[in-house]
């Protein structure tokens, strides 16, 4: 096993992994924002649909979600009248965005609800508009509460990007399999160890970034609100 040639080859697949990850982070955040709004304000039909979406994203294994996206999207596109536009990369981006959005919604909702009712009332009585209230009063406090859970969500997303190889996206894992097979599967254990180190480093970087923001946002912590919202483990 030649680490000097293997590591650059593995890293050449890193951009795709990162691209899927960043798309999922961005789209998932928007989805989570929308779903959380519907769920928090209990908008009749849409709220229940958002609940269903979140429980789909949280209770179905990510591999299965990816497969559903991979086989389901062509069905959707043929209904709409589009051609066959979904490659494995696009399907994995959409599948992971849906997963991440549902997971994140379950981080945002408790964080939003953890901000005291009195803060809403105080902002309302001072004549803040809805947008001002969210931007200046509720937002900063909720962000502070949600950040640890958001860090967890990002780390789980990084773990789950490793699964896109099953629907045929040529990410880190798939490249590692190629390398192993070229060596007649002699060095599987070593190659997976290298992969483990790469993924650990990715998680470490993500965790450091989130912790930086956590420290910066510490000044917004409310003194009367419950100190810690507990975020549970999930895949």
């Amino acid at each position: 096993m030649d680490l000097a040639t293997m590591i650059p080859e593995l890293l050449s697949a890193l951009p795709l992994t990162l691209a899927i990850m960043f798309v999922a982070i961005a789209v998932g955040f928007c989805l989570a924002l929308i779903a959380t709004t519907f769920r928090v304000y209990r908008i009749p039909v849409v709220g229940q649909l958002a609940d269903l979406y979140v429980s789909y994203a949280r209770s179905v294994p990510v591999v299965l979600q990816l497969f559903v996206a991979f086989y389901g999207l062509p069905l959707v596109s043929s209904l709409v009248g589009l051609g066959d536009v979904f490659s494995a990369n696009i399907a994995s981006m959409i599948g992971l965005s849906l997963y991440h959005g549902g997971y994140l919604s379950e981080v945002m909702r408790p964080a939003f609800l953890a901000v005291e009712r009195g803060q809403h009332d105080a902002a309302d009585s001072l004549g803040y508009s809805f947008r001002q209230k969210m931007r200046r009063v509720i937002g900063p406090q909720a962000v502070h509460i949600a950040l640890p859970g958001y860090g967890n969500a990002i780390i789980y997303l990084i773990h789950n990007v490793a699964l896109v190889m099953y629907i045929g996206a040529a990410d880190l894992m798939a490249t590692a399999h190629l390398i192993m097979e070229r060596d007649y599967n002699q060095y599987q254990f070593g190659t997976y160890l290298v992969l483990a180190v790469i993924y650990s480093l990715l998680c470490l970087v993500a965790w450091l970034i989130v912790r930086f923001f956590e420290r910066r946002h510490a000044k917004y912590s409310s003194k009367t609100a419950p100190a810690k919202v507990r975020f549970t483990t999930s895949l």
Binding site: V68, L163, Q188, Y192, Y199, R230, S234
Partner: protein
Amino acid sequence: MFDIDVLLPDFWSILEAVPVTLAMAVLIFVLSTLIGGLFALVEYRRIPVLRQLVIVWKVAFKGVPMVVVIFLAYYGLPAALHAVSSLLSIEVNAHSLPNWVIIIVALTACVSAFQAEVVKGALNAFDGGQSDAAHSLGYSNGQLFRRVMFPQIIVSAIPDLANSFMVIMKALSLAFAIEVVDIFAQAQLTAALNFYYLEAFAIAVLFYMVIAWVVTKVADRIESALRVRT
């Protein structure tokens, strides 16, 4: 493109995998909770060397995706077992280790790192004054744990434990990589026979959501039943 007629045969075919999946999930759940509980105890009591080892374990198994851990166990565990057995001079054919044992070991290792967190959170929620009170009443450590601590920490841990059971159910879907058949794998096998992939996966989604719903409901029921006493 979406054929309603295959849904029913697919349903019965995938149902066959449900008991096996649940059995494996329960086994992993029990083992990882026990190991995670030990880890939490080590951190709670602040036992010197063991504590650092637990932290290393947690960092390792939380940072690495479960697929990678499963593959590592698949290729590393037989060799490791072989080395240990030859060291102890026992004749074991480590390479005939069944795959479901490997998946159980790998997932137990992963999940125990998370379970330690759950148990630690429950332990931290326990009021220290109560253990002082119990000691002043002459309770031994074992009695304190059995009669005062355990009934309280189990109640506060139930939602998290239900959640981690679902995490295990979901993680088992990765077992297909090393040819262990669970609900998801059974869906794939069923679909491979008749090429109706989306239909089989839709049924599998249904199974997972129903199981998650049942687990949540049961956990809520147990929690509210136990909550009365405290």
